[in-house]
Subunit: 205 residues, 2 copies
């Protein structure tokens, strides 16, 4: 199921040149391995939101080899981003890219269960969800108490290639739909049709 | 030209209930008069960005009867939004809605040329462009010096029903495309495929 008109995607992509060669290298790394990443537009959105919010602590659940984390780190003026992934080889690769980009001083690298490790952190200004899709709801329920008062939650893949709509019985799609409904009920949330669907949410006031 | 899959739009809309009856009234007012507004998703995005950024001064160029301004005002914790429109009857209608919603203390209402009036303000934290499409580039060039250091520019309709892609020779589409290119070159900008295209931009660092 096509979420966005491909011509629109192409137009927007054409206006999104990147000067940082490490970003390009990471995109090539992802493409050659079919490793799912948030994509150029998603990464740019993370950068912009970070530049606007100026968070001191960003915690990522499910960092892969660090593509999204790299965009967060680039935009930080203060503070750090914590990258967590259960695969050591992903985190090692992330560290390599961060070293090349001179961003290691803004990052912390952790290997293990993201939901468990994430709970060690308090006053999270941005919580980024990109772990196994079946765990989104569990993750937000376990970690919402660790958010700062004006904390922001960002979740990737919330439209799941459109399957939350076209295949509502698909197990992952069903759980993501439940997550989206929970977020809509308990937070002020917005789903942006950027690539695979990115949700942004703040506390209701 | 369809920008977004209508099923996705419907799904997202279903997760975007609004409790404020004034918003609903404004949406009905727009619909019954075919008055172009940024729409529910766009309005919610403005609210979320405002909640994240906590601006003290929002200046709108082209406020219509106040739909976008109302979303900005709802999200403000401090400061104000300046609504500017060249039609007195639009601004009067906006004032009515703001009164009903108890938001007049967070707003200033101005009638006249938006680009000219906008220049009276300094340290603009969010500059919102929704005036005549042929004037976007002129507006940003004349007003960029009035932005605060970490000011954010938000522009509606930057995809112009997809015509920036499908009808590049259309006069308005051409000028919007030039605006998009200017923003991509001089700012860090992101185009979100929300309804008619919403651009967010901050200064490059």
């Amino acid at each position: 199921m096509l979420i966005l008109n491909p011509d629109v995607e192409k137009y927007v992509q054409g206006l999104s040149e990147v000067e940082d060669s490490i970003i390009l290298e990471m995109e090539e790394y992802a493409q050659s391995r079919d490793f799912p990443i948030i994509g150029r537009q998603g990464g740019r959105l993370l950068y912009l939101i970070t530049a606007v919010k100026k968070p001191r602590l960003v915690v990522e659940l499910g960092s892969g080899f660090g593509y999204s984390g790299y965009w967060f780190a680039k935009a930080l003026t203060d503070g750090k981003v914590v990258l967590i992934d259960y695969q050591e080889k992903n985190i090692k690769k992330a560290q390599e890219f961060f070293q090349k980009g001179n961003l290691t001083d803004r990052a912390e690298f952790r290997v293990g269960d993201a939901v468990q490790i994430g709970q060690e952190y308090r006053n999270i200004d941005i919580l980024f969800l990109d772990l196994e899709k079946v765990r989104y709801l569990e993750a937000v329920k376990k970690l919402e108490k660790n958010l700062s008062d004006d904390g922001l939650i960002i979740a990737d893949n919330v439209l799941f290639q459109g399957k939350v709509i076209s295949q509502p019985e698909n197990k992952k799609a069903k759980l993501l739909d439940q997550f989206n409904r929970y977020m809509s009920e308990h937070y002020f949330s917005v789903i942006l049709p950027v690539r695979d669907g990115i949700l942004l949410a703040v506390r209701k006031t």
